[in-house]
């Protein structure tokens, strides 16, 4: 799937015209709320966290509390099952 990341490497499911597109299977089966709680740092790029620690891509990591993203994903999966 295609996701988009902004200058802070935060993921988005749609592009506001300023973002970079990436084709990845890292979020296959995940709902939009889950995806948009993540950072995607592509290979060859480096994200500098606000405390100065460097992270080299490819790396994915949540920028929102993962427990909240997991709740959203489980609700999404329940909704998917309920449809059938």
């Amino acid at each position: 799937m295609t996701v988009y990341f902004d200058l802070e490497y935060k993921c988005h499911v749609s592009n506001d015209g300023t973002m970079t597109a990436v084709d990845t299977d890292a979020f296959d089966g995940k709902c939009d709320a889950y995806i948009e709680g993540y950072r995607f740092v592509p290979e060859g790029e480096i994200w500098v966290r606000e405390d100065g620690v460097l992270f080299s891509g490819e790396m994915i990591a949540p920028w929102k509390p993962w427990n909240e993203l997991d709740v959203a994903q489980r609700e999404y999966e329940r909704e998917q099952i309920a449809q059938y």
């Binding site: 299977d25 890292a26 296959d28 089966g29 950072r39 290979e43 994200w47 966290r49 405390d51 100065g52 620690v53 460097l54 992270f55 080299s56 891509g57 490819e58 790396m59 994915i60 990591a61 949540p62 920028w63 929102k64 509390p65 993962w66 427990n67 997991d70």
Partner: protein, 263 residues
């Protein structure tokens, strides 16, 4: 960040308010800001630096620094020079070797980081031990990797084509106090000719087993040896480990770790 300074073993020179000592037994009467490096090897000098020092001499201790630490201290008797130690290495036999270190502060020894694996120690009271687990990857079928536990490293490998698995902690680890998960990769074999697609993954998973491409909470590609960091600042807990997938032509997918730690 460039190298801060180098001085001889003992530190504590004029103006400095810390001391670095070696030994395999925790010092019994330490002064404030005594840094104890758990090593039998004489410390010939030390470097505080965020990046690996170039051209070290044998016995040099490298104290890796960052912007935060559980054992931050003011290095000067007067004025302020705050240092944030995170990890410790010593140059032995032409290799940077992970060493545990602690600082004596306010009457107690403070750990810099929390190890989950280091130099043969699995820290079982915390991790429950490290072992292989069958875990799928995409359409690949899971298989338990072959795990070899050496004196100073732990290795996992998948040698059957189109199989995948994990080397992973038995316990879910409470990561709420940490921001960074680090893997010190000593040896690496990507499981296929396209390294990007078939390199091992290092990180935190929501479970042992399952399909590790779906259960990964935070992960990085292991494409080179050395230290690989994963941001876990928004991860409260999880199983720490590695995912391996062997695709074709290179014989196996394999990873050898010398240390895994949280800071």
């Amino acid at each position: 960040m460039s190298e801060v300074f180098i001085t001889r073993r003992g530190g504590g020179g004029a103006g400095l308010d810390f001391k670095i000592v070696n030994g395999t037994t925790q010092p019994t009467s330490p002064g404030e800001n005594t840094i104890w490096v758990n090593t039998p090897t004489e410390i010939t000098g030390y470097v505080f630096s965020a990046t690996q020092p170039e051209s070290p001499t044998a016995g040099t201790v490298w104290i890796s620094t960052g912007a935060s630490s559980h054992a931050a201290f003011n290095a000067m008797k007067k004025n302020g020079l705050w240092v944030y130690p995170q990890a410790c290495y010593q140059y032995i036999n032409d290799t940077w070797t992970t060493k545990t270190a602690k600082t004596y502060q306010d009457g107690t020894w403070v750990d810099w980081i929390t190890y989950l694996y280091a130099m043969g120690n699995e820290y079982k009271s915390l991790t429950g031990g490290w072992s292989g687990a069958s875990a799928g990857f995409g359409e690949a079928i899971g298989s338990v990797p072959t795990v070899t536990k050496g004196a100073t490293t732990i290795t996992a490998e998948i040698t059957t084509r189109y199989k995948s698995g994990q080397l992973i902690t038995a316990n879910s680890i409470d990561l709420s106090a940490y921001n960074t998960l680090s893997f010190n990769v000593a040896i690496l074999v990507a499981g296929g000719e396209d390294e990007d697609d078939y390199c091992p993954w290092v990180g935190v998973f929501s479970q042992r087993g399952g399909r590790y491409n779906s259960t990964a909470i935070a992960r990085a590609f292991a494409t080179t040896t050395g230290i690989i960091d994963v941001d876990i600042s928004n991860v409260a807990a999880g199983y720490v480990g590695v995912g391996l997938y062997y695709n074709n032509n290179v014989g196996k997918s394999s990873i050898t770790l010398s240390a895994v730690y949280c800071s």
